[in-house]
Symmetry: C2
């Protein structure tokens, strides 16, 4: 039997062998790791043609889909453009796990032939290359999810998500990196190594869907799929300057995604898209729901895309907007307040009220006890076969395992908290001019921006919405600007020890280019509304930015 | 401190005191307990006027609502009619726990005044008296749910369900009996005593919502609300000859309903209506969802009533109908096969295929391990304060408690089973003429009919649909007829020991008048579809019955 080191080395060699030599940059030409962004590096390598650069730099997924549908771009050329850029991105920020270029090329050719012969697209995502987090099974490759012990067990069928996006015409072509156990907000593991943040490679891209965050930010993929149980879609979106959606439990089909802790159903992991355009999130949501995923995933409720609600939210004249400036436990770093103020300044004649943070510390306690209830047994069993090392993770290892009765009591605390939070949201009716509760909530994307590896991460700004199960969209608003955001501005009046710790860590000079994002949060199972509100807010913001 | 006997006696005395003397039948005039139906007895007592008899015998809830809305009946007179009949019913079959006649009278008078002054109904259930299972809190009374230890802790607010039906104009006036722990299919407890089946008082009405079953069958209430975690709405509906609906998890608002095992979220308890008309189920579903219960219950998905789907299902010309004649483990008693054949004979030109039962015994194992995971601790703690006796129940008492890790593994078995069952349903596409899977599934309501108390009950015919979380409607089709259904017809070829046991128990002579029901089952979260299909099937059946 091989050692974990041998297995990992062999897996990495297999991955390397699937990257065409022609798509590699000579090591001597690669930029040194620095605070400089490498997002534009691939287009200067000469590996992509001008047309291929143009294709990969089409951020708006709706535009790309329209050109694919009209035949202006073929699926084959779009795929090859992104393959090239992905290969270069991989040399720079290491986002890949499994590579499916050959399957994807075949599928793209089929799609082109189908469009040519029938005049019709296969589905709403016709010809769109897509990346998926390593959890999603693609027939023929592993889903190791960072466990070396899971290697060399290729899937014999696709996860439902992969099945569904393929039916919709998408072309899955790579799987992406994540932390071992997936219960962590950096993206590093002994099997595949560490993924870096392309905006500033001294920083990490967040996690757990950090491979997606890094690859999509590098324009190696126009649309990626991550998962989120405490922020794992939104954290990499926020740290890599992307749009990201956390939908409510089971809205999109998770069936067949590999994970540990799958039996932990108190706070279910969900899947959601990351993209460089809001249209990427909307096109994904519409396309996935159009395939009636509830016919394939027994957990997915039969809720079709509600176009009426989406349009209503996009165009609603008078919005009641709540703003949670901080969570009552850790104040976000200076650029977040700046970003929210910029957004509000552009918003126009809406009713904007402060949203009181609600029991953040208690909420995080409930989240952690749900994740750690098994005393770490599930994770321990996953690393046992090869005795591989355990990376940093949020797990119950070393803690006393809950009994079933204790799990039930924890579930009750969680349900009670959800009810309290709903009542708290409804109570905003007392603050608004028209006596209606807020329609949407604006909150910082994170407390801190992207940070150097090994610094842990404070996840309450995302985790709270996993606990109450509300949909949330990440919007990229700004970047750290040391001239404006620099210097520790607070010397006292801290909300908590954590608040003081994070405040003292603030060092804008080191965080050049780090993106600053906000979240738009809506009511439960109102993904359409939150996407519509997000569009309205973002359009107002970009229109406002153009004016100034 | 009082003993449990003293507390129980005092609670029963309080209940007795709330029943007006004028609405009581002298003991000497009450019929002796026998196999005879007592459903019509109240109308012969002289306590109800002819008009009140007419009101209470209006089975069709839509008709009653129309007469209340038009002012042909006042809310006050409708309420008093049902109060009278309920009081007599209580003497006969003991369905009541808490009595709210005074609150209800005030509310009914308000509703009449409102209709008179505004010309408008308060909501779609305007003036309809409703009974609710003891779990639902009504401000001012206890929710003991059969635990004497829970007595004398009056609720200070209504459960969300009660809040919602009141907003819709309904008049909750009584709460109804259930077995202690609620984890049992008879309806008896040390606090409130035993509820009987009005069709044959030597039999029990099933459970756990047996108070509702008995009261609605007695026409003491036009519409009742029960809960169902293994069949607890459908079993009393099936055993009392009623229409009943088990919706999918959280579709209707359970928030604020009292229960033990509330932290058990693997297979959640749901609430559903029981009525003497299918219109009762539909009016309830529409009215509850019209109140947007997701604004009050954080578990309820924001899925409004889908009228289009309901109408489509009601009128769909070509149905693919699956029939599961038995569950592969215990064959239902003879009248069920007869009832299904009668229904199919009336159905007309639809495509009817046999539905293979799927791993029933394994399914029941998964159900039981979910319910019993805590080793009975939750129930033990509930009876501890007064050291009250524990009645028969499905609980983990005496079993080894699961660890959190074991709970997680059990959850995974449940999720895997749901996926298998969905694939099994989809695979019926191979059996139908048009290659579509079945639209609906017809299954026996139960294996056995109502039976004498103390016989346990086989619940797999209902429990399987809690496990897979499909909506199911109970339709009353027939009654036991000893001349046709009598005699043990099977002497061998049993499917299992359970099958042999139940078959040998069959004794039609003792089961005179016992109702025989079927279930119509649909896909997950398609309550509208299953109600529409149920209407189509039931209308065809009653039209067919009239012809013969």
């Amino acid at each position: 039997m091989s050692t974990w080191q041998q297995v990992a080395e062999s897996k990495r060699a297999q991955r390397e062998a699937l990257i065409p030599e022609a798509y590699k940059v000579p090591a001597s030409s690669l930029p040194a790791v620095s605070t400089d962004s490498v997002v534009d590096f691939p287009s200067k390598t000469g590996i992509l043609t001008a047309r291929e650069v143009q294709i990969t730099e089409t951020d708006d997924v709706s535009v790309l889909l329209a050109k694919l549908a009209s035949g202006e771009y073929t699926a084959v050329e779009v795929l090859e453009s992104f393959i090239k850029r992905t290969c270069i991105a991989h040399q720079l920020v290491n986002p890949l796990t499994e590579i499916h270029f050959e399957d994807a090329r075949k599928l793209a050719a089929e799609l082109d032939a189908e469009l040519k012969s029938t005049g019709k697209v296969r589905g709403p995502l016709h010809g769109l290359p897509m990346s998926v987090k390593d959890q999603f099974q693609i027939k023929g490759s592993d889903s190791t999810i960072g466990y070396i012990s899971y290697a060399n067990k290729p899937s014999d069928s696709d996860s439902v998500l992969v099945e569904v996006i393929k039916k919709a015409g998408a072309v899955p072509f790579v799987k992406t990196n994540l932390p071992q156990t997936i219960m962590y907000s950096e993206t590093s593991n002994t099997l595949w190594g560490t993924t870096l943040n392309p905006h500033n490679r001294t920083l990490h891209p967040g996690g757990s869907s950090g491979g997606e965050g890094a690859l999509v930010a590098m324009k190696g993929s126009p649309l990626g799929v991550g998962t989120d149980v405490g922020g794992s879609v939104r954290i990499p979106a926020a740290l890599c300057g992307l749009f990201g959606l956390r939908p409510c439990s089971h809205r999109f089909p998770y069936e067949g995604a590999v994970n540990t802790l799958l039996g932990q159903i108190t706070i279910p992991s969900v899947l959601g898209p990351l993209s460089r355009s809001l249209s990427g999130l909307t096109e994904f949501s519409k396309a996935v729901l159009a395939q009636q995923p509830w016919l394939l995933d027994p957990q997915t409720p039969s809720m079709p895309w509600n176009e009426e609600r989406f349009q209503q939210a996009r165009t609603q004249k008078k919005l009641n907007v709540g703003v949670m400036w901080h969570d009552g436990h850790v104040k976000p770093m200076p650029p977040y307040e700046r970003a929210i103020k910029e957004v509000l300044a552009s918003l126009g004649e809406h009713d904007i009220v402060d949203f009181e943070p609600y029991k953040t510390k208690e909420a995080m306690g409930i989240l952690v006890e749900a994740f750690c209830a098994d005393g770490g047994k599930d994770i321990s069993e996953s690393i046992a076969p090869l005795k591989e090392p355990l990376g940093p993770c949020l797990s119950g290892i070393g803690q006393k395992e809950y009994t079933a009765f204790e799990v039930w009591q924890a579930n009750k605390r969680k349900l009670a908290f959800q009810k309290e939070y709903l009542d708290h949201w409804n109570a905003t009716a007392r603050q608004t001019k028209d006596g209606r509760p807020i329609d949407l909530l604006i909150v910082p994307g994170m407390a801190y921006t992207a940070i150097a590896p090994g610094n842990d991460i404070y996840v309450a700004y995302t985790g709270i919405f996993n606990l109450v199960d509300y949909p949330a969209v990440v919007l990229p608003i700004s970047k750290v600007n040391p001239a404006v955001d620099g210097g520790a501005t607070r010397s006292g009046g801290f909300l908590s020890e954590d608040d003081e710790k994070w405040s003292k860590k603030w060092d804008a000079e080191k965080l050049v280019n780090a993106p600053v994002c906000i979240q738009i949060v809506g009511r439960r199972y109102e993904e359409e509304a939150v996407l519509g509100y997000a569009e309205q807010v973002y359009d107002a913001f970009t229109a406002g930015s153009k004016k100034t």
